[in-house]
């Protein structure tokens, strides 16, 4: 199916969840409201016309100018074949726009287990909280997925545009100026 057809199917079946679409560009996608994201993703995976069986990538995109943060889900539908080459049915992307101060979106790790690590990474680097994530912990930041790339006690979300690198971490200087002058 072409991107236009996929968009049309979604707008027909889940009209209230679709907040916009761009099916013309190089990266065709629909905008989905955060509360309905899980329904849309489930539909994309299970509908017989769409069958997006592979979640390729989950990316956070920070937009401090508009005080918004986006999550981009890249999906791929692979058509099975017996003893022949599988065919690529279609590729599509789903985007959801969140409030930068308090970004919350439902987890899709129950639909595609690969989302588990991707969502942990998006929390780690962007601070996006995926509600219902299977590997969540509760601390002073509330209930959120575990960090994955940074240490558990890291402060801040490094891929946010306004992130300031810490001066020190457990006695390790974070900036060149902070390095104490050595002998000589």
């Amino acid at each position: 199916m072409t991107a236009e057809e996929i968009t049309a199917v979604l707008e027909q079946e889940l009209a209230d969840a679709i907040a916009g679409a761009d099916s013309g560009g190089m990266h065709p996608h629909v905008w989905v409201t955060a509360v309905r994201l899980h329904d849309v993703m489930q539909f994309l995976r299970d509908d017989s016309r769409l069958q997006f069986n592979m979640l390729r990538c989950v990316s956070g995109v920070d937009g401090p100018a508009s005080n918004e943060i986006d999550v981009v889900y890249d999906l791929l539908s692979m058509q099975p074949a017996v003893s022949e080459l599988w065919r690529a049915r279609h590729a599509f992307a789903v985007k959801v726009r969140l409030d930068r101060a308090n970004p919350h979106v439902p987890s899709v790790a129950d639909l595609w287990p690969t989302a588990d690590w991707h969502e942990r990474e998006a929390y780690d680097l962007f601070g996006i909280v995926f509600d219902g994530h299977p590997d969540s912990i509760k601390d002073h930041d509330g209930l959120h997925p575990q960090r994955i790339l940074c240490p558990d006690d890291w402060v801040g979300y490094p891929l946010r545009k306004d992130y300031v690198f810490p001066d020190e971490y457990h006695g390790i200087p974070g900036k060149l100026e902070a390095v104490p002058p050595g002998p000589g």
Partner: protein, 414 residues
């Protein structure tokens, strides 16, 4: 009872003397769960990977990978430099396949900007990418043998890889981080005598692959260690986002070079090998001894993942030969402005790397520096299935499974 006392050291007090046979029998069977830390510095974790194992005797109840020891926030670098300047960072993602990383990122940016790459440049790129695929699979093959206790194949594999490194060094001066393939083409044309040296190497390598099969692939000890271990079903492989040889070993005939062709791969003749049950005959190029899957192998097990890479080496040799035949004189690089402005727009592009599908999401905002570069590392996704596969397997199988997934931590941690 007699058995237990037999083992005791003479002269030591018999601690079990007061216990009756029944208590002894149950105590002997009961095991205590134990947490075992595998890594971050463990020879079989291929870099700085730590796997926390909850073991019950010899059985692993839970395996939790802890990653991030090599995290350098490459994506932050990507949104602070121009795409040309990001190429050296892509070298350091999957540092065993730097050419393929360069190629995938370049194609992503070229498609975003709309750059036409000269034909000669495309051919050189495929040549280099496939050579690098061989080099990467050689490391994988050798290191996997090492994990399974076979030292010799490792040395042989590195001997062959050395010659590929020499070819790359002749082309671009570097032996590991090439930055050779760049946006618009390749940084410099091939040196004189490269094609002859390359052909000579292929003639040398092809019979060697058969040798590896006889030395390692069909080795009974190796089959016993890797065959039927860590089986991943096709459905699981897709659900966990596995790509590359790990996906194909589960019986999924999927290769981006064929299924969603880029760089003109559709004009090349090659087959996509998949994991086969015992007695299966994977397709190989003409003139090569027909390999056969031995007894004790199941589709989707560690041995299949290993063997798919071996067969892919045959096809990469075949592809390099075709690329050499296609080389015509011409430009090696498109004429580009010194400061390349990215349009307002975005692209998500995936290329078939030796370890799977490397993806780049590049978002341009009209300036020369992208506003976002997201890297989807194939090893990151492939590794995420570890805890699922390692559940209830034997402790000794954990290195076999992790080794067969063939991860490069530079790409997992980025």
């Amino acid at each position: 009872m007699a058995k237990l006392t037999d083992k005791m050291v003479e002269g030591q007090p018999d601690l079990l003397a007061d216990l009756d046979a029944e208590t002894l029998a149950t105590d002997d069977l009961l095991t205590e769960e134990m947490l075992v830390n595998m890594g971050p510095q463990h020879p079989s974790t291929h870099g700085v990977l730590r796997i926390l194992l909850r073991t019950d005797g010899e059985v692993v109840r839970e395996a939790t990978p802890h990653i991030g020891y090599l995290h350098r926030c490459a994506e932050k670098i990507g949104e602070n430099v121009a795409p040309f300047q990001f190429i050296p960072t892509t070298d350091r993602l999957d540092y065993l396949a730097a050419m393929n990383n360069n190629q995938t990122f370049s194609v992503a940016v070229e498609q975003l900007v709309g750059i036409e790459v000269p034909e000669r440049a495309v051919t050189i790129r495929i040549l280099m990418a496939e050579l690098n695929r061989i080099a990467s699979h050689l490391v994988s093959l050798g290191a996997y043998g090492l994990d399974m206790g076979a030292f010799t194949p490792f040395l042989y594999a590195f001997r062959e890889r050395e010659r590929i490194m020499d070819l790359f060094e002749a082309a671009c001066g570097a032996r590991l981080t090439y930055s050779y393939i760049t946006i618009g083409g390749v940084t410099m044309d091939l040196p004189d005598g490269f094609t002859d040296a390359c052909r000579e190497f292929l003639e040398y390598l092809e019979p060697k692959i058969h040798e590896y099969n006889q030395l390692l692939s069909y080795n009974q000890i190796f089959i016993k260690r890797a065959g039927g271990v860590g089986v991943i079903s096709a459905a699981d492989a897709i659900a966990w986002g596995l790509t590359g040889p790990c996906l194909r070993a589960s019986g999924v005939r999927w290769d981006l070079r064929r299924c969603m062709p880029y760089e003109g791969y559709e004009q090349y003749d090659f087959e996509v090998p998949i994991g086969l049950p015992q007695g299966g005959e994977p397709p190989v190029p003409p003139g090569v001894p027909q390999p056969r899957v031995p007894r004790g192998v199941v589709v989707g097990d560690c041995w299949s993942r290993y063997f798919v890479r071996v067969i892919e080496m045959y096809w990469s040799v075949h592809l390099v030969r075709q690329a050499l035949d296609r080389l015509r004189p011409g430009e090696h690089k498109a004429k580009l402005p010194r400061s390349l402005k990215l349009p307002v727009g975005e692209i998500y592009f995936e290329g078939e790397n030796p370890r799977g599908q490397l993806g780049f999401l590049v978002i341009g905002d009209g300036s020369p520096v992208p506003s976002r570069v997201k890297v989807r590392g194939p090893s990151f996704n492939n590794l995420s299935i570890t805890s699922h596969v390692c559940r209830d397997c034997l402790l000794a199988d954990v290195p076999a499974i992790v080794g067969s997934i063939d991860i490069v931590m530079g790409e997992v941690d980025r």
